[in-house]
Symmetry: C2
Subunit: 236 residues, 2 copies
């Protein structure tokens, strides 16, 4: 019945490849769930749940390590050019997911600092950007699973929405700080949390660009607008 006597030991290149993609998708879903949990924790002001999210980040880091190992195993099989592009994309995408996980853990970490001050209404603005980022992560992972460069391109285009929301929130926070000195410390944490989420959006965009590279090779990407204006923002 067993036509390939060693298939339980030596897996085919394609099986290993599928496993690698599966690991990356799992890693990505973990990062999306971490961000979702972190946003929830900000709303509920739950320090214990925040601590769990921070601890969970290690599992994502461990998976990135596994991906690197598997990439090395695949590369040792002396792959062709197209396979190598896939391997390179896998490495980069897993690194981006690892960073997304870091940023999500950071949002959770700062939420505990936020809980030392009275609740601020502006956490709702943060949640809106955060939910958009969660959707971006899930959409780009689906594009990766489906090898769909057009879907990836849509994720990339949508990043401008996160940037616009971020810029608005940034300015709102500044006025808030100017009106009430007691709000400065919590608002500073919110500024960094918003920045973390904006960076998560950038990493989703990086993943989208790697999917493009995977499908089209080094063909030039269509141009994209970038709307984060806070680097040069002045007092509104």
């Amino acid at each position: 019945m067993n036509t390939q006597p060693h298939d339980h030991i030596v897996k085919s290149y394609d099986e290993e490849r599928q496993r690698l993609i599966g690991e990356i998708l799992r890693m990505g879903e973990m990062a999306a769930a971490q961000l979702e949990a972190a946003l929830d924790v900000v709303d509920r002001r739950d320090d214990k749940a925040a601590a769990r999210i921070i601890a969970n980040d290690e599992a994502i880091d461990a998976l990135e390590h596994v991906v690197s190992q598997d990439v090395m195993k695949l590369a040792l099989r002396g792959p062709m050019a197209r396979d190598l592009r896939e391997i390179l994309a896998a490495l980069r995408i897993s690194a981006d997911i690892e960073r997304i996980g870091d940023y999500a853990a950071n949002v959770a970490k700062r939420s505990t600092a936020l809980n030392l001050s009275p609740p601020l209404p502006l956490t709702r603005g943060l949640n809106a950007i955060g939910q958009l980022a969660v959707t971006q992560i899930r959409d780009v992972l689906q594009a990766y699973r489906d090898n769909d460069a057009e879907a990836a391109q849509r994720v990339r285009a949508k990043d401008a929405e996160i940037d616009t929301l971020y810029t608005g929130l940034f300015r709102e926070l500044l006025t808030y700080m100017m009106e009430d000195a007691r709000a400065i410390t919590p608002c500073t944490h919110l500024l960094f949390m918003a920045k973390n989420i904006e960076r998560i959006g950038d990493h989703a965009t990086n993943i989208a660009e790697n999917i493009w590279f995977l499908v089209h090779g080094d063909d030039a990407l269509p141009p994209r607008e970038k709307r984060d204006g806070t680097n040069t923002a002045t007092t509104p």
Copy 2:
């Protein structure tokens, strides 16, 4: 006289490898010089020079692209396990250098926003952290060139100094903002600039860890302390 007739077309594996390392070192020195220039521009309040630094970042991005291409060429030669580790480290280190370049450009970008407000004394604190980060980048590049895991380990240990300075500056900036509402906007830019530099320190640490991996494989790294306490900082 020419003993290897095709050496001008087909380079040896070792020659290609040396070229790759040379590209990464060049890229790293560019990033260190960018950070140095950005710190200088903050002091001199020179918007034109800031614009040049921002434009220069493209050259670093272009070099990362070249490194990726060269890594793929090397991987196609069907390398051995130790070579693969070198290739993997090269990819990761060049990605870290690319991020350092981004952060340096960001410091330059925010300096132009800072110049819209009157000068702040706290830019000196920023410069001190920045100079430390420049040294860290140069030291870790030298460790990479020399394949010196012990030197890399020293860079990694020294990152705690940057974190300590960053935490101090962060708290200082907060009190400043509370004393004078007009300082809030420029201090917010300084907060992000300080954070950019703190992140540069983290990337130098990542590079150090990849040098360790390069030399020792997956042997566990010695533990390291992490002193950035601002994630949970409260009003001093």
